[in-house]
């Protein structure tokens, strides 16, 4: 099981994110068994692996939803102990989960500002300001939401929901440093996928690092700089995007 790291080390700074020897088990199941993971600035890494390989667990550890049983997490060179969702967000780690983690019965503005509402006099919500910023944020994604901000998010289309989720993570959050996307193009049509991939490339240009989990190899090759492959809770391969192909990646994923 050779680990072949062949990407160009362009920046000598600390990587944005570095995880060493991460272990996590649930009962008797070893979800992650000693995984190292690095993410550099302005880099897009595609995290690959079959179902049950440990991708979601690794993502949840990076975003603080789970705490690792063993191993260390470094953010911009500094060791982080006990990461929780709030502190992950404060650091600038944003996530767009596969189910988008939206609130279907609440309106667009409420979704965009969920967990970090803008307040007046420290307790009262500043609805007007939030609505104004919401419109601006949505505009930047380029995907139009034809209705009012009072629309329930559950009634939007798949692409529009993604626009809301991305707006929340990217534009409303301030300046994110790392964005994790779990199956971003799943369920999207051709046009919407293309728009989404363009947004991902734009994000990279503005200095944001992205971890992408996807089963769609074609989409991954369109945007990723590097591939990391997990299998059975371990990292079984790492390749620069221009030094590998679908067949090799699939072989690593299934263990052929």
């Amino acid at each position: 099981m050779s680990v072949d790291i062949t990407y160009n080390k362009l920046n000598k700074e600390d990587p944005v994110l570095k995880l060493t020897n991460i272990k996590k088990h649930f009962g008797g199941v070893k979800a992650l068994n000693g995984v190292d993971f690095t993410l550099n600035k302005s880099e897009i890494v595609a995290l690959m692996g079959d179902n049950g390989a440990g991708k979601s667990t690794l993502i949840k550890i990076i975003t603080g939803v789970y705490q690792p049983d063993e191993g260390e997490i470094y953010f911009e060179g500094k060791k982080i102990s006990s990461l929780v969702p709030k502190s992950a967000r404060d650091l600038g780690i944003e996530t767009i989960f596969q189910d988008l983690a939206l609130f279907d019965v609440m309106d667009i503005t409420a979704n965009l500002f969920a967990g970090r509402e803008i307040k007046r006099w420290r307790i009262f919500l500043n609805q007007k300001l939030m609505d104004k910023l919401a419109l601006e944020a949505l505009g930047k994604t380029g995907i139009t939401i034809g209705s009012t901000l009072r629309q329930q998010v559950g009634e939007l289309s798949g692409g529009q929901k993604h626009a809301v989720a991305i707006s929340r993570s990217v534009y409303v959050s301030g300046s994110p440093k790392v964005i994790l996307m779990d199956e971003p193009t799943a369920g999207l049509g051709v046009k919407e996928s293309t728009e989404l991939l363009k947004i991902i490339k734009d994000l990279k240009k503005s200095g944001i690092s992205i971890i992408l989990i996807t089963h769609d190899l074609a989409h991954a090759f369109e945007v990723a700089d590097r591939f990391v492959v997990l299998r059975g809770g371990m990292k079984v391969g790492e390749r620069a995007a221009d030094k590998t192909n679908s067949i090799e990646l699939i072989q690593m994923m299934v263990g052929a």
Partner: protein
């Protein structure tokens, strides 16, 4: 930004298609006033409204507390026994000692909050389903009430009497005023503060709330403090109306409060409904009870009627949730 929904008037008052229950409830109340008013004109008389405003606010206060818990996705079926139990404590205190009424009230409310804290602890920390655990609490507290107060506990406290039986401006019962005050404060909290927003977020999608950094357990725990505290307040106001405490007080209150909440549009799935709807539902149910009493319909038939209403409300709530596709 104003809502420019294209929904027609009919779809807004249809409980199955409208977002809020309030339009439906307003129509229902108007119909009620019209129909019952024709059958029994006393129904629309000021004195009758006064009667409703004297008898019904207590359950309204309990419903407000329960509403907070339901919004977070749980339920508190122990509120009736909390009301009865804290009423007994305060009655006993006033019977045995000469402490000022205000102190006794504070002790009673603190007791209610403490019981709410136990409920909250069991549900959020231990992880027991709230229906089961609050039912257990109801059972335990009822038993405790009966052992502490074998018979009615009479006390004499003019201060408390004035509170429970007095009027503002000679027409508005004190307890009605208290209920409206609490209603307005809680409405403001829920609609305009971050805490209130968190309650809705937690109730509408707990896992998502966790993801965006909200302490879901803390919010759910705090909700129980509201239901316990308000139930205690209601229990204390009840004993102040009649100057005695009894272990029979508060029985059945949880179901009445639940009916008010669900009919008011506060969905059992959590995260949906406002206290405007709760208020309208309170008016409707209070008026209904008043009308049934005037028609000399016995207590048991009334219970049957209200129980059926509760079932109906739950069914409508379920259909509404299904149509929206619950997260």
């Amino acid at each position: 930004m104003k809502s420019i929904t294209n929904k027609s008037f009919l779809s807004k008052i249809n409980p199955f298609t409208s977002y809020s229950m309030s339009p439906t409830l307003i129509i229902v109340y108007i119909l009620m006033l019209a129909i019952i008013g024709i059958i029994n004109p006393i129904f629309i008389h000021l004195k009758n409204f006064q009667a409703i405003a004297t008898g019904a606010p207590l359950i309204g206060i309990v419903a407000i507390g329960m509403g907070v818990v339901i919004l977070t996705g749980n339920v508190d079926l122990s509120v009736g026994s909390i009301a009865g139990f804290t009423g007994i404590i305060v009655a006993e205190l006033l019977f045995l000692t000469q402490i000022p009424a205000i102190i006794a009230i504070m002790i009673g409310i603190l007791a209610g909050i403490a019981i709410g804290a136990i409920n909250g602890f069991i549900v959020t920390f231990v992880g027991v389903n709230s229906v089961v655990s609050t039912l257990g609490m109801w059972f335990a507290l009822s038993g405790l009430s009966f052992t502490v107060a074998g018979k009615a506990i009479n006390f004499h406290n003019p201060g408390l009497q004035k509170l429970g039986q007095g009027y503002i401006f000679k027409v508005i019962p004190n307890i009605f005023f208290i209920m409206i005050l609490i209603l307005i404060i809680m409405y403001i909290v829920l609609r305009f503060t971050q805490f209130g927003r968190n309650i809705y977020l937690v109730g509408s999608n707990g896992p998502s709330a966790r993801v965006v950094g909200i302490n879901v357990k803390k919010i759910q725990f705090l909700a129980f403090l509201f239901s316990g505290g308000f139930a205690a307040l209601a229990g204390i106001l009840l004993i102040s109306q009649v100057s005695f405490g009894s272990s029979l007080f508060g029985i059945g209150w949880e179901f009445k409060a639940l009916t008010i909440c669900v009919i008011g549009g506060i969905s059992l799935n959590g995260g949906r409904g406002t206290f405007v709807g709760l208020f309208l539902a309170w008016i409707i149910l209070g008026s209904l009870q008043n009308a049934l009493t005037m028609a000399n319909i016995g207590v048991n038939w009334r219970d049957f009627f209200e129980g059926t209403l509760l079932l109906l409300a739950i069914i409508i709530d379920s259909i509404r949730a299904g149509r929206r596709g619950v997260t």
